[in-house]
C-alpha cells in the first residue's frame, strides 16, 4: 500500500467567493425546471378562473361587488402562492438529491450557500412572475368592472330620476375607492412577501427533513401558527395563564414561527382602505428580516449536511 502524503503538505488556494452570476444560473435553472413541471398551465387556468369570477357575481351594489371580487381573488391568490411556495420548495432539494444532480452541482466549485440561495430565488422568481401576470389581469378586470358598474349605476339613478351631480359624484368616489388603485398592487406585494417568508421556512425544513411530506406538513402547520402569532404572544406574556413549561414551549413556538399576520392587508384593501407607504415599508422590512434569519439558519444546516 502506498503511503499517503501528510496533511501538512496542503496547498493554500484562493477561496471560492459568492458569485451572483452562479446564483442567477441556479435560480434560472430552478425556475425553468418548475415551469416544466406544468406549473404555468395551472397558473394560466387560475387566471382564467379569476377572470370568470370577476364577471360572475350577482349585482348587489357597485361597492359590494368590487369589494367581493377583490376579497375572493386576492384570497385565492394568497392560498395559491403559499401552496406553490411550500410544495415546490419541498420537492426541489430531495429531487436533486435523488437524481444525483446535487452531486454534479456541488462537486463543481459551487459554495453550498450559492446553491440554496439559487434554489430559493428560482422559486421566488416564479411566484413573482405569476403574481405580476395575475396582478395585471386583476387590474384589467377591476378597471373594466369599475367602468361598467359606474355606468349602470348612473343609468339606474337616471331611471329613478335621482342623478343629481352630487349623487353622481358620490357614486364616482365610492366606485373609484373600491376600483383600481395602488392598494391592489400593495395587496399583491404583501401576498408575495408572505409567500416568500413561508418559502424560506420550507427551504430550511427541507434541509433538515429527509421526507418531502414531512416538510410540507410541518411548513403548513407553521403557516397556520404564524397567522395566530398575536394570540401566542398574548398567552406567553400573561403571567396567570398556563404552567411555566407550557409558556416556555409556547415562547419557543413564537420564536420559531414567523408572524404572518403582519402581511394581512387583503381585508383592508378589499374594504377600500388606503394602505400607507409606511405600512408597505414596514412589511417589506419585516419580510427581509425573517428571510435573512431563516436563510442564515438554512445555510448553517445545509453546509453541514451529509449528502
Amino acid at each position: 500500500m502506498s503511503t499517503a502524503s501528510p496533511s501538512t503538505t496542503a496547498v493554500s488556494v484562493a477561496p471560492v467567493r459568492f458569485s451572483p452570476q452562479r446564483v442567477w444560473t441556479l435560480a434560472y435553472a430552478t425556475m425553468t425546471q418548475l415551469m416544466r413541471m406544468k406549473i404555468l398551465p395551472f397558473l394560466l387556468l387560475f387566471c382564467v378562473l379569476v377572470a370568470a369570477m370577476g364577471f360572475g357575481f350577482s349585482v348587489i351594489n357597485p361597492e359590494q361587488q368590487l369589494s367581493q371580487f377583490k376579497t375572493m381573488s386576492l384570497g385565492v391568490l394568497q392560498v395559491f402562492s403559499i401552496v406553490f411556495g411550500i410544495v415546490s420548495t419541498a420537492l426541489l432539494l430531495p429531487k436533486d438529491l435523488e437524481d444525483r444532480t446535487l452531486y454534479t452541482i456541488l462537486s463543481k466549485p459551487v459554495p453550498r450557500f450559492d446553491y440554496i440561495l439559487g434554489k430559493l430565488l428560482g422559486v421566488l422568481m416564479l411566484i413573482a412572475s405569476g403574481l405580476v401576470i395575475i396582478d395585471a389581469l386583476l387590474s384589467l378586470i377591476l378597471w373594466m368592472q369599475q367602468s361598467v358598474l359606474f355606468d349602470s349605476a348612473v343609468a339606474q339613478l337616471h331611471t329613478e330620476k335621482q342623478d343629481t351631480p352630487e349623487v353622481v359624484a358620490q357614486m364616482r368616489e365610492i366606485v373609484a375607492r373600491q376600483g383600481l388603485t395602488w392598494n391592489l398592487h400593495w395587496a399583491v406585494w404583501a401576498i408575495f412577501l408572505k409567500a416568500a417568508v413561508v418559502t424560506t421556512v420550507a427551504l430550511l425544513l427541507s434541509c433538515i427533513a429527509s421526507s418531502t411530506l414531512f416538510t410540507i406538513v410541518i411548513t403548513f402547520c407553521i403557516t397556520i401558527i404564524g397567522h395566530g402569532h398575536a394570540m401566542i404572544r398574548e398567552f406567553v406574556f400573561q403571567p396567570n395563564l398556563g404552567s411555566t413549561a407550557t409558556r416556555t414551549a409556547t415562547f419557543l413556538l413564537a420564536a420559531i414561527c414567523p408572524d404572518l399576520a403582519q402581511f394581512d392587508i387583503v381585508d383592508s384593501v378589499a374594504n377600500g382602505e388606503i394602505v400607507p407607504w409606511a405600512a408597505v415599508y414596514e412589511m417589506t422590512g419585516i419580510a427581509a428580516l425573517y428571510m435573512t434569519v431563516y436563510l442564515f439558519v438554512t445555510h448553517l444546516v445545509f453546509v453541514e449536511k451529509e449528502l
Binding site: A10, V16, R22, T104, S107, K108, V110
Partner: protein, 287 residues
C-alpha cells in the same frame, strides 16, 4: 508531472450516526491511498465496501469522521479544491428540460465560464463524447449510455486535472461501455488523472495503472495492477501457427528439464464474450 499527488487520502474513517435507535455505522475504516497525477487508479470492491463513501469524502460531499483528504494538495473540505476535479456519479440524471448543449452550458456557468470560451468548450466536449448529433435533444430522451457520456462531458467542461468516475459503465450496453473505456484511455493520454470505481473487473484491468481493493470499509490490497495480478511462478507463451510437431518438441523439452518445471496447459486461447459480442454487433448489415 506534478510532484503533488492528485488525490491524497490519509487514515480516513467515516462513521455514519445512527438515527432513532439504530447504531452508528462505520463505512470506511482507516483508509489511506494516493493517486499520482496522470495515472488511472481503480477503486474496486463489493457493494457496501466503502468505495462511494471514500469518493464522496474526496469530493467534499461528506465530511470525514477522522483523517483527511486532499485534491492536488488542497483539502477536500475547501470548495476551491473542486476547481481541479470533475465528477461523474453512478447513473447520473440531469435536468430533463435542458438539452445536451444547455446542460453543458449550465455546468460551465457554475464553474465561472461564459461567452465564447464556454461555447467552444461545450462543442469540444460534445464532439469528444460523440454527442454532437444529440446536442439539441432534450436530456429526458437520452439513453443510459448517452447520459453517461453527457456526464463525462459535464465533468470535463471546466478542464479539470482529475476525473472521479463512480461506476461509469453501470447499466450501459457493451458498445457504449467500450466507448467510455476508450475515453478513459484517451483522458490518460491527455494527462488527466482518473479515479474510477467499477464492479466490472475485466474493464478495470484494461484501463487502470494501479488499483486499490476495498472490503468492509478497509483497503485490503493496493498496488500497480501488473504486479498485483502477475502469477510469479508461471510463464505464459502464446504461439501463432505452431505445428503439432513443434508443440510436441516443447512438451518434450519441458519434461526433459525435470525439477519443478511442468507444462500446465496448452490449447487455443479464447476471445472474450464481450469481444465476440462487439465483433458480431458491429458487422455491417447484409442487404
Amino acid at each position: 508531472m506534478s510532484a503533488t499527488p492528485a488525490v491524497s487520502v490519509n487514515h480516513l474513517t467515516k462513521v455514519f450516526k445512527g438515527s432513532l435507535g439504530k447504531g452508528a455505522f462505520r463505512a470506511v475504516h482507516d483508509v489511506s491511498l494516493t493517486v499520482q497525477a496522470g495515472e488511472v487508479y481503480g477503486l474496486i470492491g463489493p457493494n457496501g465496501s466503502g468505495k462511494s463513501t471514500t469518493m464522496k469524502v474526496i469530493l467534499g460531499l461528506l465530511s470525514p469522521t477522522s483523517g483527511d483528504t486532499s485534491i492536488f494538495g488542497v483539502p477536500s473540505t475547501e470548495v476551491a479544491s473542486r476547481h481541479s476535479v470533475g465528477f461523474l456519479p453512478e447513473n447520473p440524471y440531469f435536468y430533463k428540460h435542458l438539452n445536451g448543449r444547455e446542460t453543458l452550458h449550465f455546468y460551465g456557468k457554475l464553474c465561472g465560464m461564459s461567452g465564447a470560451k464556454l461555447k467552444s468548450r461545450a462543442e469540444e466536449m460534445l464532439a469528444l463524447t460523440g454527442l454532437e448529433d444529440a446536442a439539441t435533444r432534450r436530456v429526458g430522451g437520452y439513453s443510459k449510455g448517452m447520459l453517461q457520456r453527457l456526464g463525462l462531458a459535464q465533468a470535463l467542461i471546466h478542464e479539470p486535472q482529475l476525473l472521479v468516475l463512480d461506476e461509469p459503465t453501470a447499466g450501459v450496453d457493451p458498445a457504449g461501455s467500450r466507448i467510455i473505456r476508450d475515453l478513459i484511455i484517451e483522458f490518460r493520454t491527455r494527462g488527466i488523472t482518473v479515479l474510477v470505481t467499477s464492479h466490472l473487473l475485466e474493464q478495470m484491468q484494461e484501463v487502470c495503472d494501479r488499483v486499490g481493493i476495498m472490503a468492509h470499509g478497509r483497503m485490503v490490497r493496493e498496488g500497480r495492477l501488473n504486479e498485483l495480478i502477475a502469477v510469479e511462478n508461471q510463464t505464459e507463451m502464446v504461439l501463432e501457427n505452431a505445428s503439432p510437431d513443434l508443440l510436441a518438441k516443447i512438451d518434450a523439452l519441458v519434461k526433459a528439464e525435470g525439477g519443478g518445471t511442468r507444462l500446465l496447459r496448452s490449447g487455443h486461447p479464447r476471445t472474450t464474450l464481450e469481444r465476440l459480442f462487439l465483433e458480431a454487433t458491429n458487422a455491417p448489415k447484409e442487404p
